[in-house]
């Protein structure tokens, strides 16, 4: 992909983000922060590439260990973030109608 295509995805995604986030009900703003935190850990993709490629390339063994450490950090976030979001969302209940 050339730079302009990537930039196009980014700009359009910003607009999508703008409209989607305004539609989030204020009552769920804390779960919103927890889940955005979890999905921003998609940075694990970069960490996995570094960890997987590192073993053979020059200068790569440091990069590999940095990658592995980043995998640990991002995994804490992914599992912790989605789990705590699920825990919060499970608490939101409607009034019981008789």
């Amino acid at each position: 992909m050339d730079f302009i295509s990537i930039l196009s995805i980014f700009v359009l995604a910003c607009f999508v983000g703008y409209f989607v986030v305004w539609s989030v009900t204020p009552a769920l703003h804390t779960p919103l922060m927890a889940v955005t935190n979890a999905i921003s850990s998609v940075i694990i993709v970069g960490a996995l590439i570094a960890a997987a490629a590192g073993s053979v390339t020059a200068g790569g063994s440091t990069a590999k260990w940095l990658g592995l450490l980043a995998v640990v950090l991002a995994s804490v976030n992914i599992f912790g973030g989605f789990a705590v979001t699920a825990r919060m969302l499970a608490m939101y209940k409607k009034k019981e109608r008789p």
Binding site: F10, V16, V20, S41, A51, G54, S55, V56, G80
Partner: protein, 487 residues
Amino acid sequence: MHHAAAPPAWVMLAYLVAGVCFILALRGLSSPASSRRGNRLGIAGMTLAVVTTLIHYAPRAGQHDATVFGAAGNFDFTTMAQIAGAIVLGAVIGLATARRIAMTAMPQLVAAFHSLVGLAAVLVAAAAFLNPEAFGISDNGVISPVSRVEMGLGAAIGAITFSGSVIAFLKLNGNMSGKPIMLPMRHVINFGTLAAIVGLTAWFTQDQSPWIFWTLTALAFLIGFLLIIPIGGADMPVVVSMLNSYSGWAAAAMGFTLQNSAMIITGALVGSSGAILSYIMCRAMNRSFISVIAGGFGGDSAAAGGGEAIDRPWKRGSAEDAAFLMKQAEQVIIVPGYGMAVAQAQHALREMGDLLKAEGVTVKYAIHPVAGRMPGHMNVLLAEANVPYDEVFELEDINSEFARTDVAFVIGANDVTNPAAKTDKASPIYGMPILDVEKAKTVLFIKRSMGGVGYAGVDNELFYRDNTMMLLADAKKMVEEIVKNMG
């Protein structure tokens, strides 16, 4: 080394689908009913992104270009086991934390999680710098200038997110005073550091020397620290939202480096989400984003109204009075604030609400956008205490109802109820939208003592009104007393 080819179409497509899953995950949060499905879609998207990466970039011994799938080279079991180990380790820590954390500690947990994303971004940027071939961004060891900018930005934003979040965590967790810490010349120092980071990033495009990369990363760690220490505890909702936004932009910058649509879409979503939340929080305080970030609010003006406050007459009530008044009421609106979270009074409060409802009283909850230490903080605590979410209202939806309400029950909130915000032009909170509790027939105001003031450091005129009754006690103990008196 040649410039690596783009990943095959199925890989690109999988990342795109993951990105769409993340959009739908946020979309689900438009109502509590659809939110749980949204969260599951988020998990599905993340699984897809991770599995795709592991298949396509599977470690292969003896293969020098990891971006080419299926080329010669045996599968590297050792590395794969290390990766699996890293994921399992993270999963165990993450799940244990998520399961154990108290809901009142959610703001510091979110700050801690932000710091991890920030640090992960720095590590990935550093790994990409040290091993650019693996990421397909170099030609004979020379990293393309565009990639260098993206890498520098990713490292810098990640580092700011990390150190800023660590300070926010320490303040929210009480390891560090919530009071603003003001360094002399801090604006000069901050601008100088920021200018140096921008300058070094520009230089980095011309010169690939490692010291430039590491210096700009180190300066970014420093500026994150400097930016957050002068910001007071009560401005933390803005700070936490802002760091949320940064963690997104860091992911987006690395997405540009890796040409990965899932990362770019996610980064843009998270970046806008945090920015919008910061905006909502600033609007709810009638303050500009710049004035919040400049810091120092609530630090020095505290002494101003103190002396005269003690001389003015005010009425003190007991739990018995409060129980009696509320049982006679037709409608009671409960206004919770950070003090409720500190006292962990939400369960007792829900019990009180149940007793009132059994007496035929209509009970509603009114939430100010900046109540608590992060956006939506009060809503989560009330949900934890089993308060149905359709009894909980936002400021603009309920404010007109106070005039028709018998009792406004303020628990742990202060500045967000101060009528001075509407009348006193000299007040630091003038112009801030507030909950019109003073319009209710009676205001019951729980407060530990008459001495303290809210975080804005201003006295609350509400305390001295004829229709206000002060209930001086710990919030939880007082509510429990009221519950006893209702039985």
